[in-house]
């Protein structure tokens, strides 16, 4: 099979694939990677790192929403909790950056398993509400627990030396670490979407009762994708804590959950590249329009309304329909 995305109309195309990936996907990935390699010489590296963290976060969220058909409204819990753990590990335990990120990611995974196993018992809006409720509990935990620093968060987190040898203090050095993490994560998610497991996920998204009647234990698949999604969301949050050398309540607040929904819908849910573009647009807006203050939120709101009204498939979704190729 060549393609499996929601927008696929052209699966019949000959096998123009390289390494199990349609050629145009491969080319987009290579182009993106090449662009990101030189980008820090043109743009501010911290801004780019922020974009990448959110791109990974949105890609993880999209795995759950776009391919698992599950709308979580509490993904800030995994993103934020992982950023606290990663910051704490780097600052208090003095772990190297890769271990700090790893510990944040693992905590998000466990948290995802606990919350996921309770949330998947409900469907639709109830599922979303359960995830939101748990995320709020995590928020209040972050507000009250001593190690998170409450309103102050964890500040002045040292990035440390990668594998104990390479100092990642310079932004340009750490930039390439973040680039590797983001691409690794996004490619891993890509593989998951295009795996036998991903195929069953899509079937469940499309028609859950039918998947059951074919003998699939759908709740186990839902839990699995929930945990995977939480894990990558955690990886993004853990990395972000080291980028800004800060873990704060913003990362775990419900507006963060809303932002990742916005990024995914704007870019195109259920597409491979949509969440990446959506993250880029939203972060760029927040960054370059920061001087407008609260107006940025209003602009985001307007964009969200327009996206829902005019192009529900998101930017990449619309584009994919034009070129008649899944993106």
């Amino acid at each position: 099979m060549t393609t499996t995305d929601t927008v696929s109309h052209v699966s019949a195309q000959p096998r123009d694939k390289a390494m199990g990936m349609p050629r145009h996907h491969m080319m987009i990935f290579i182009a993106l990677f090449a662009a990101m390699l030189v980008a820090p010489f043109v743009l501010y590296p911290v801004f780019l790192m922020k974009v990448m963290c959110f791109a990974l976060f949105a890609a993880a969220f999209n795995l759950l929403l776009g391919f698992g058909g599950l709308l979580s409204f509490g993904h800030a819990a995994y993103f934020g909790m992982a950023s606290y753990v990663s910051a704490h590990a780097a600052k208090v335990w003095g772990l190297t950056p890769e271990l700090a990120i790893l510990s944040g990611t693992l905590v998000a995974m466990v948290l995802g398993a606990v919350i996921g196993s309770l949330a998947i018992r409900r469907q639709g809006i109830y599922f979303a509400m359960v995830t939101l409720a748990f995320a709020q509990m995590v928020y209040f935990f972050a507000l009250q627990a001593p190690f998170t620093g409450g309103e102050d968060g964890i500040q002045a987190v040292p990035r440390g030396d990668l594998f104990g040898i390479l100092s990642t203090r310079p932004d340009r050095t750490f930039y390439y670490v973040v680039l590797a993490i983001t691409f690794g994560g996004v490619l891993a998610i890509y593989r998951i979407i295009h795996s036998p497991f991903g195929q069953v996920l899509k079937a469940i998204r499309e028609n859950e009762p039918r998947s059951i009647s074919l003998g699939y234990h759908v709740n186990r698949y839902k839990l699995a994708v929930f945990v995977i999604s939480a894990t990558f969301a955690g990886m993004a949050g853990a990395t972000k804590a080291l980028v800004f050398q800060l873990a704060s309540l913003t990362d775990v607040y419900w507006t963060m959950s809303g932002e990742v929904v916005l990024m995914t819908l704007l870019g195109g849910m259920g597409t491979v590249f949509g969440p990446l573009l959506g993250a880029g647009i939203i972060v760029a807006m927040q960054n370059y329009f920061a001087s407008f203050g609260a107006w940025v939120l209003i602009m985001q709101g307007i964009i969200f309304v327009l996206a829902v009204l005019l192009f529900r498939e998101g930017i990449i979704g619309v584009l994919a329909r034009w070129i008649k190729k899944p993106l």
């Binding site: 696929s8 699966s11 036998p196 069953v200 079937a203 028609n207 074919l214």
Partner: protein, 251 residues
């Protein structure tokens, strides 16, 4: 008759808050037969069907399949035992291709597909077999179409191809002819008769006439209870059945 039964229900009852939808239904489906479950609107056919396929849990009663008590199993588990159902509204995966639809069923043979790290290329080994199931129902020309784009009749055909790909011992069809044109009804009837040669089929139908030539055995339900059982000749002459249908406004 009981020893030849592949699927049996005893005292099957389902209550919804103060309303008894299915009341102490006894049912035996003979191995190798085409058995129809019919009844007027609100007779409890669909509820009964959902109980038998475990999409609903009965309030009381027992269901046995191949001599095994399946009352407590989940819907996915009984599918794994070879008891596969269809749906009234066509049950395809609309954004997957026809080939992928059938392959989802064949993929079950790998056991659970939790291997998220593997490329979906491993699924290509099922392509040839999927194509032959697709050819069986006359959909070869649509192999790479999105299932959602197919006409209604073709969706039903695809659904049957997908079901057959599991090679189930017993099929439960929920109103397979609902909403079909006369031409489609004949096509699907022929298909059902063909696939019944080495399988057992239990189908729910609204219309008595549709099942007349198709089924070996008919159970008529009305108000959640078994009204009559037997072959078409017996059942269609039963005054209670005639009464129930006319009483409910159907000829």
């Amino acid at each position: 008759m009981t020893e030849a039964a592949i699927l049996s229900a005893r005292g099957l009852t389902k209550e919804f808050k103060g309303f008894v939808a299915v009341n102490k239904v006894d049912l035996d489906v003979r191995r190798g037969s085409i058995h129809a479950l019919i009844g007027p609107n609100g007779a409890g056919k669909t509820t009964c069907f959902n109980l038998l396929t475990k999409f609903l849990q009965p309030t009381s009663g027992a269901i046995t399949y191949n001599g095994r008590d399946i009352t407590g199993l989940s819907a996915a588990d009984i599918a794994r035992l070879g008891l596969v159902r269809s749906f009234q509204i066509s049950a395809v995966f609309p954004n997957l291709t026809v080939l992928e639809n059938v392959r989802i069923a064949l993929q079950r043979r790998r056991g659970d597909s939790y291997d998220f790290w593997r490329s979906e290329r491993v699924l290509r080994e099922y392509d040839d077999e999927a194509r032959s199931h697709i050819a069986d129902v006359g959909l070869t020309a649509f192999t790479d179409e999105r299932a959602g784009e197919l006409s209604y009749g073709r969706k039903r055909a695809l659904e049957i191809a997908t079901t057959l790909a599991l090679n189930p011992e017993m099929l439960l069809l929920d109103e397979p002819m609902a909403g079909m044109t006369q031409e489609d009804v004949e096509r699907i009837s022929a298909l059902i008769r063909r696939i019944a040669t080495n399988r057992t089929i239990l189908m729910v139908e609204h219309n008595l006439s549709v099942v007349a030539n198709l089924s070996d055995h008919i159970t008529v339900l009305a108000r959640g209870e078994v009204l009559a059982q037997g072959d078409y000749a017996t059942v269609s002459k039963d005054p209670k059945v005639i009464d129930a249908y006319i009483g409910a406004g159907h000829g």
